[in-house]
Amino acid sequence: MMGRGRLAAWAVGLAALVALPFVYRDPYHLHILVLILIWSFAYTSWSMMGRFGLVSLGHGGFMGIGAYVTALLWNHLGWSPWIGIPIGMVAAGALALIVGYPCFRFRITGHYFVLVTLALSGIVLQVITATRDYTGGSLGYTPNRAAGTKLWALQFDDKITWYLIALGVWLFGIVVWHWVDRSMARYALEAISEDEDAAAAAGVDVTAEKLKITLLSALMTALAGAIYCQYQMFITPDTVSGIAVSLQMVFAAIVGGLFVSLGPTFGAVITIMLAETLRIGFGTKAVGWDNLVYGVLLVLFIIFLPKGILGSLLDRLKPQRKVPRAHEQEAVQIARPGT
C-alpha cells in the first residue's frame, strides 16, 4: 500500500502541475512540457513490458499505427479522432497479438524477440512509406484542419488545453503502471522473467500473461502516437515509427530508470531538455549532435548505471530498503535463450 506521506506528496505535486499553466503561460515552455508529457506516456507504456524483460523494439510500429490510422480516418473518411483513436489502438493491439502470440507460444525470447520486434517496427515504416499515395510517404502527413467544432476534431489551438490533455494521459499511464505493479500479474511476470520453465511449472500461464502485458503496452503506445499526431498536426514516418523511435523509447526508459514508476518520465525530461538545449545552443549546426550524445550516454549508462538515474538515486536514498530481486539487479534481465 502507498503510504499516507507519499499519497500526499503525489496530490501536492499533481495540484501544482494542474495549476501551472494558469500561472505560467509562456507558450514555448508549455510546448516543451506537453511534448515531455506525451513522450513520458509513450516511454511509460514501453517500460510496462520492458521492466519484465520483454524488450521490444517494435513500439515505434505501434506508435506509428496509432498516429497514422487516426489521421488517415479523419482525412479520408472524415471520422472523428474520438472514433479513430480507438480504431488505431485496436489495430496496434491486433498487430501486437499477431506478432506476440507465436513469439510467446514458441518461447521466442532474448535476442530472437528483440530482432522480431525490431523487424516489426522497420516494416511498419516500410508500409507507411510504400502507401505514399495515402500517407504522403516520407514527406509526412498533416490532418486536415477542422471546419466544425474543435472538440469533435480533437484540435485545439491553445496550449493550455493541450497541456491538460497531455497531463491527463500521462497520469493515466502512471496509474496503469501502479495498477500493474500491485496486481497479481506483476508477480507472474516477474517469475517469468526470472525463469520461464519454473514459472510455467508453478502454474503460471506464460503465454497468456505475456500477451496481456504486450497488448496493454501496445494499446497505450498507439494512444500516445495518436495524441502526438493530434497535438503536432504533422507526422512523418521517422518521427512516429521505425527503429529510431523504438530505440529512443528504450534509451529514455533506461536512462530514467526502468523499475520505478517515474523513471521513464524522468528519462523523457532529460532527453527532451538535452535535445532542446543543443538545438537552441547550436542551432542548425546541432543536427545529429543530440543523437550522438544520446548514443554515447546510452552505452555509458548500460555499462556503468544499468538501473538508471532515478532508480539509482532512490536506491541511494534508502539503501536498507529490501533485498533486490534477481531481476532488479540488472537493467533488463531476461530468460536466456535456450535455458
Binding site: 507465436p102 513469439c103 514458441f106 525490431l118 548514443g295 552505452v299 537493467a331 534481465q333 531476461i334
Partner: protein, 293 residues
C-alpha cells in the same frame, strides 16, 4: 533455349535471377551477423551502420583521394574490421557478464552514435561513387554488372571464411568456442583473443558488403536502416548462429523481395517478406533448419 525462354515471362525470369544476385550480398551480411552471434552470443544491432561507415570510406577513398576501386576495397575492409574489433573491445567486452539484452541495447546506442556521427561529419546528402558499370544483356534480359560482381565477390568472401573456419587453428578454435564457451578457456584457448578476432572478421565481412553495396546504392547516414531490418529477419529465419540456415534464408528473402518488386513497388516486396516471416514464425519458430520439437 529460345523456346524455353518464351514460355516463361521474360521479366519473371529476370526478377528470379536478380533475386539470386541480391541474395548473395544479403547472405554475406547475414554471415557476419551470424558469426558474431554464434561465437560471442551478442547481436550487433548496429551491424548495418558499420556497413554504412564502410560505404562512406569507399566513397571518400575513391572520390577524394582518387584511389582505384580495387585498392580502396581492401583498405575499407581493414578499416571496418578494426571498427568491429574496437566495438567489441570498448562496448561488448565490459558487458560480457551482463544480461544479453544489455549488450544488444548497448550496440543500439552505438547505432545512434554511428548514424549521427555520419550526419555530423558527412551531412545528409546522398552520395554515390560515380562509377557506372555496364549493363549485361543476355537474351532479352538485362542484368547490372555491379550486381553480378557483388554476387561473385560475396561468394568468394563466404568461401574464404568457410576455409578459414575449417582449415586453420584459429578457425577451429572459433568453432569450438561457439559449441561450448566455458570449457574452451580450460582447454587453453585465449577466449578474449578469439572474441576479438571474431569481431574483426565480422567487421571485415561488413566492410566487404560495404564495398559491394556502394556500387549499387547511394550512401547517406540512414542507409543502414534500409537493409538492416531485412538482415535481422534473415538471421532469425535461418536460426541465429546457424550459418547454412542464414545462407538459405537470404536467398528465400531475396527472391520474395525481387518478385514482390516485380509486381509492385520495392517496399511491397519488403512487406511481403515480412508477412512470409510471420507465417514462418508459426511454422518454424526456431529457424528454417531447426528440428521440430
Amino acid at each position: 533455349m529460345q523456346a524455353f525462354l518464351d514460355i516463361f515471362d521474360i521479366y519473371l525470369l529476370e526478377a528470379v535471377i536478380n533475386g539470386i544476385l541480391l541474395g548473395g550480398v544479403l547472405a554475406l551480411l547475414a554471415l557476419g551477423l551470424n558469426l558474431i552471434f554464434g561465437v560471442i552470443d551478442v547481436t550487433w544491432i548496429c551491424y548495418a551502420e558499420l556497413v554504412m561507415i564502410g560505404m562512406y570510406a569507399m566513397y571518400f577513398l575513391v572520390q577524394y583521394y582518387g584511389i582505384s576501386y580495387f585498392l580502396a576495397a581492401p583498405l575499407t575492409i581493414l578499416l571496418v574490421a578494426v571498427l568491429g574489433a574496437a566495438l567489441h573491445y570498448l562496448v561488448i567486452a565490459p558487458l560480457l557478464t551482463a544480461p544479453p539484452i544489455n549488450q544488444l541495447l548497448a550496440t543500439g546506442g552505438v547505432l545512434f552514435v554511428l548514424q549521427s556521427f555520419a550526419t555530423v561529419a558527412f551531412g545528409i546528402d546522398f552520395r554515390n561513387l560515380g562509377i557506372r558499370l555496364p549493363v549485361l544483356a543476355f537474351g532479352e534480359m538485362n542484368f547490372s554488372y555491379a550486381r553480378l560482381l557483388s554476387f561473385l565477390a560475396a561468394l568468394v568472401g563466404m568461401v574464404a571464411v568457410y576455409l578459414f573456419m575449417t582449415r586453420t587453428f584459429t578457425g577451429t578454435a572459433i568453432r569450438a568456442i561457439s559449441q561450448d564457451r566455458q570449457i574452451m578457456a580450460l582447454m587453453g584457448v585465449d577466449t578474449k583473443r578469439i572474441y576479438l578476432i571474431t569481431s574483426a572478421i565480422g567487421g571485415g565481412l561488413a566492410g566487404l558488403a560495404a564495398c559491394l553495396l556502394v556500387l549499387q546504392y547511394d550512401v547517406h547516414p540512414f542507409v543502414g536502416l534500409s537493409f538492416g531490418p531485412i538482415t535481422f529477419l534473415i538471421c532469425v529465419l535461418g536460426g541465429l548462429g546457424n550459418f547454412i540456415g542464414g545462407f538459405i534464408a537470404a536467398f528465400v528473402f531475396a527472391e520474395i523481395i525481387s518478385l514482390g518488386g516485380l509486381f509492385s513497388d520495392l517496399e511491397w516486396g519488403y512487406v511481403l517478406a515480412f508477412a512470409f516471416f510471420i507465417v514462418m514464425m508459426f511454422i518454424r519458430p526456431a529457424g528454417l533448419l531447426a528440428k521440430r520439437r
